[in-house]
Symmetry: C2
Subunit: 203 residues, 2 copies
């Protein structure tokens, strides 16, 4: 397997973390999003959608979309589980995964692409007001997460999951593009320190 | 189990279709989104996120987010499979599910909420330009789907899946809120007729 990756981006980091948690070793190929390499002919042959991460399987098939890659890794190597075991665990993790993907990670990347110069592309549709609305959406989602983490060590259920990975990738990306964690949020901050101390967090 | 539902909305329909495909019978409770019932105190006790669909399990736990509910139903009753069997099938379906959720269904609902009067709420943030951009995003996604459906009976892999369900729910919702299918797109239109003829399509 081969992972098309970009060290600075939020979604590829979520897959590097999942791989590290499962101790799966794959070749990583860096795609320079700031130079537009994802739009180039060579990469479009690999993923016509021009996005990273994507995972090239040994048969040549290419899986895009972080949640789909996480699902593949879980099905190929279930332990340690990142997407739950019982039907209810799987559902609770999928629910929180979707909530943090939307409210935290996507909100942060939307702020980046619409309210800042983003990747530096010219001629792309930008909506600065929508970008700023997503900064607010991101901050609101942090409050929601802080409430969810009251008395809980992890975002979804009793164990560490891909929902924790998606959330920390979104939060750290937001910081990198200029959105600091607001004051307060004690549960979120304790959780953030806990997740950051995992070896996979530096993958 | 009990499904909190809204007959006119796109996401709840996707769960009604999944339930029909699997022949799972659950009590459906209608929540009137146009009257703001989802924001009322009674419903907020069930789902603080104020969204439908959500599925109340027999132990009282409530699962929100369509993809999470679909995951729960698949884990509880795997046959007929809507989310794939082998790791690669699961990944391909999850990838296309995410693509049509984003580019088709979410683009259509974003158009509805931002470029039209939506559910009729007052005082909510609206960004008409973002709404119109999503109409374009929706139409672009239909072109992408038409190419994907060349020589294929279903969106993801060889069989009918939750990706087909999500796509048709987005397309039919778009039509209901004023976005007609563009000319052309022969593969997409043949697929649409095929999926519409399934008994679950009228669930």
């Amino acid at each position: 397997m081969k992972l098309y990756d970009c060290k600075a981006a939020a979604n590829p980091r979520s897959i590097r973390m999942a791989l590290a948690e499962k101790a799966i070793d794959v070749e990583c190929v860096q795609i320079d999003l700031f130079k537009g390499e994802q739009h180039g002919e060579a990469f479009r042959k690999i993923n016509p959608f021009g996005s990273v991460p994507c995972l090239e399987l040994d048969d040549g098939a290419v899986i895009g979309e972080s949640a789909a890659i996480a699902r593949y890794l879980e099905a190929r190597q279930p332990q340690p589980r990142l997407l739950g075991s019982t039907p209810k665990e799987q559902a609770v993790i999928a629910m929180w995964q979707r909530r943090v993907e939307d409210g935290v990670l996507n909100a942060a990347t939307t702020f980046f692409h619409h309210a800042t110069s983003g990747l530096g592309e010219t001629g792309r549709y930008r909506n600065a007001d929508w970008g700023q609305a997503n900064k607010k959406r991101f901050v609101d989602a942090l409050g929601m997460l802080d409430r969810q983490l009251a008395g809980r060590a992890y975002v979804a259920g009793d164990g560490f999951s891909f929902a924790d990975i998606t959330a920390i990738c979104g939060i750290d990306f937001a910081k990198a593009v200029g959105i600091e964690l607001p004051d307060g949020l004690p549960n979120l901050k304790a959780w953030h320190a806990r997740i950051s101390s995992r070896p996979s967090a530096s993958a």
